[in-house]
Symmetry: C2
């Protein structure tokens, strides 16, 4: 393993100077076609690769984006969110298509704010995943803005002071899901979800649910609303609570698939058939939704579109200096549970 070839070696081989090599490789139009060809041939021969450290030092950017997952701890990490995980592939591909590399990291709430990537020039900008609209984050995001760091957040959006936000149209998703249930004749539709600030999306889904009901001339009934977090256990518990209330229902709209699957298990246990007795619709389209029995009808967020929107917004922020928030469309995926 001998010394790496440098642009000087390349220049010597191609019979030109080092600056010409640099220009040739970066596609500068001032270098003649034949010179460029000679340089490229030499590069091929020496298996020359630009040293990105030197390049990044000289230019002022690294052509690298950082992907930052929020986490409370190993067991409470945005890296466990299946939707985020499904965005990973598309993000990597989208970055590659734009000539960027992707750095991945996590950020603990408890730790100091060490978003060094942009500070230390390892990344030109940051994608933030798992940062809800918690107030706790505000000062950190504000500091980021203050530093002039380029970043884009996945979230419910709204607050354009804190950088651009990309998120799904949760309200419309809630509307579509509910309308689907209404269209199949259901009238007593329970809503399983929480309005906790930890899941701001759930509130929008609830709003869509209400809008659909009202559009059908119905009035949302608080008795049909049960608090539930996105977990199987919580879904089962919520169903138990619903039953305990003794209120009749012929459908369930769960604000997350995990909750929906838990509720389905609960229904199964008490012998209520799905969808004959109770139709169920979830939200997220996690992989287990398709594998559930019966397969779960759910609101699908498009991971590819989301990934692309995030990456392209960030690149725009990096290269053009600013970008805009976006709300992405969702799609109802009808399977057998409703």
């Amino acid at each position: 393993m001998q010394r790496r070839p440098t642009s000087f070696d390349l220049a010597a081989l191609a019979g030109v100077s080092q600056p010409t090599v640099s220009r040739a490789l970066s596609g500068n139009p001032s270098v003649s076609a034949e010179t460029r060809a000679r340089v490229l041939a030499a590069a091929e021969q020496l298996n020359y690769k630009v040293d990105k450290n030197a390049s990044g030092l000289r230019r002022k950017h690294s052509r690298t984006l950082a992907l930052l997952f929020f986490e409370e701890g190993p067991d409470e990490s945005a890296l466990l969110n299946p939707f985020y995980l499904s965005m990973l592939g598309p993000m990597v591909r989208c970055c590659a298509a734009h000539g960027y590399d992707l750095l991945i990291s996590t950020q603990q709430l408890s730790s100091d704010w060490h978003v060094d990537y942009e500070d230390s020039r390892k990344a030109d900008g940051i994608v933030l995943l798992g940062y809800g609209d918690y107030l706790e984050y505000r000062p950190r995001l504000e500091k980021l803005v203050g530093q002039g760091t380029h970043f884009v957040r996945w979230g419910a959006g709204g607050d354009s002071e804190l950088g651009a936000t990309i998120g799904s149209d949760n309200e419309q998703g809630g509307f579509d899901a509910t309308q689907h249930l209404l269209a199949s004749g259901r009238r007593a539709i329970a809503f399983l979800g929480t309005a906790s600030s930890a899941f701001p999306e759930f509130l929008d889904r609830w709003r869509g649910y209400c809008r659909a009901l009202r559009a059908a001339g119905l009035v949302p009934d608080e008795a049909l609303r049960v608090d539930a977090e996105p977990s199987e256990a919580s879904g089962r518990a919520a169903l138990g609570q619903l039953i305990a209330r003794g209120i009749a229902f012929d459908a369930i709209f769960a604000a997350s698939d995990m909750t929906a699957i838990g509720a389905m298990h609960g229904l199964e246990k008490i012998g209520r058939r799905i969808p004959e007795d109770v139709a169920v619709v979830g939200f997220d389209d996690i992989s287990a939704a398709r594998l559930a029995s019966p397969p779960l009808t759910t609101v699908t967020q498009d991971p590819r579109g989301a990934a692309q929107a995030l990456v392209e917004a960030l690149i725009e922020a990096v290269e053009a200096g600013s970008t805009r928030s976006r709300r992405l469309p969702v799609r109802l995926t009808v399977r057998e549970s409703a």
Copy 2:
């Protein structure tokens, strides 16, 4: 957003020279405690961060590892593998603990071999995920070895000529799963899996299955073995095939959870109870296994341990020049399906 502070600015503020700043920050023992304190205070004040491009240029490494997912295309990517995805968090944390950053990328088989990260000094070493033991990869891996690139592969291992390999003890997992079924009195245990080179792990799982049978004085029956890929549809189809053969069975060991879940759906459809009529054991412990109904007994690979083993092996390769392959223990997770 003014100019970034450099180590010279820091030196001026602390009243020392730039080299002293560099030494103070890197913990060089030759700098006195009081000087170091002054430098650190100045760094805090200026919010100084080492420029990793310049640092990487001067040193010969970037303290960055690249994580490379193999993919045939967007729909056939190692980034879709839930086990790999579950390693992500632990890998990130493990890298951080060792002071490394993690770059994530994909590699298409069809494209040229562009593992530029190490070539271009963006990464010091590479973790390869999703590279089975396909012969097609050999030349590429050999080239990597030839270049002196440091890398570690997740896989069945064995071929130590092609770099270190870290993998689960699939044979033992197959043995444990089968023994568990035997212990509960099952005697006719079907094996659902394929020996295709695309899934070399399956072959080891099959071997473990055979060893358990023989240890119990039974002889593996080829009639109980059905080819199946790791997908729900394939699992359902495999069960159909098994039924069509008209052979009696009281248990199923599927070489993957996806297959097992498909088979469970098939059993449900024809009214066979799980586990009363047929016990089912899977392999992988994907998230859907716990959510299945009944929850699936399966062989759990430890993503944290795997991630740690991969990262630490790679770091050892990078820093010490070489490393060794390892086979990681697996654990049977008993739920309700068997």
